[in-house]
Symmetry: C2
Subunit: 214 residues, 2 copies
Amino acid sequence: MRNAFKESEKAVIYRTIHERRDVRSQFLPDPIPNEVLTRLLAAAHAAPSVGFMQPWDFIIIDDLTIRQRIKANFDSENSKAACNYSDNQKNLYQQLKLEGILESPINICITCDRARGGKHVLGRNSVIDMDLFSTCLAVQNFWLAARAEGVGVGWVSILDHDLLSQQLNLPENVYPLAYLCVGYVSEFLTEPELATKGWRQRLPLEQLIHYNQW
Amino acid sequence: MRNAFKESEKAVIYRTIHERRDVRSQFLPDPIPNEVLTRLLAAAHAAPSVGFMQPWDFIIIDDLTIRQRIKANFDSENSKAACNYSDNQKNLYQQLKLEGILESPINICITCDRARGGKHVLGRNSVIDMDLFSTCLAVQNFWLAARAEGVGVGWVSILDHDLLSQQLNLPENVYPLAYLCVGYVSEFLTEPELATKGWRQRLPLEQLIHYNQW
């Protein structure tokens, strides 16, 4: 079919998509060269966005003091989360490593400026959260490009975002959508860790497909 | 660096990311073979999700009557949106083609089941919308894999989502996150249409990068 990539090129895309992992434990301290980081950010910036709003900004955090504060934010939220579980599930939860804030050489917060582009952003009239959704697409571009570069990425979602906004000095209209731990890794695991550790298994794709209606 | 792809393979990833477009106008009627569609859906299903929740489902819509109803939903919302603009901007807005619901051979709604995985999904305690954000990552996997297959994708965000939920018979806990027009295309435009038509230009990446704090 015209416009399609060659079979060998398609295979690279699928390999990237299927070998991408959420990394928490395998970070190496090696610095990421500037030209690599710039390629990753340019990949994120090439994401589609509602009304070409491009609502994202990228905060690159290597300062250890700031990261320690954000780690404390995580610890506090994670303790609260652990209380949702009991018995064996609580034990398993507490054994899972869920972030690499201090072990990764840099953290990157991808934010969403909810006021960018003015009051009436094209395509955002019916669903106001399209700006947040657009920013997620940038996150996934970053994540996939990073896999190809051998760079691991882990999204830390167990954070009080109001506190995180203060910790990063964000303006009122800017939301800290994705807090990412970023660095080269010793290996990419072959399967998602939550599956191999018995927390939850992959759903069969065929159960998730519907035709014309639910 | 270990785990990195070869330079030629990295180039394929970046090419996919930079040549992906939001398609509204270039759809061809050619059907998408089942094996291609299955690869695209498997790519979406390989996205990361909070707590391995995998909250997505895929509704593949080819029924013309259903698509006509959804086109009417778009027309109604789009008329309302046009009222946000005046003079030259309104003229330009009304000339933009913003969906390909009927011209594309299939539409796919990627939904988010907000109740999947039970009450306490790992990693979703602090930010309840992490399930929606995860579903967006699946959308971008789909979109990029489609580009490599020569398949165009356009996200229609100008829809009343309550009405869309009715039109697709969604259960109460399922949100119609992304309504996509999907099909082979005559060409992928070299630049985003909103830029070439003068609606809005790409922001310089360097303006979007911050160090350690905003």
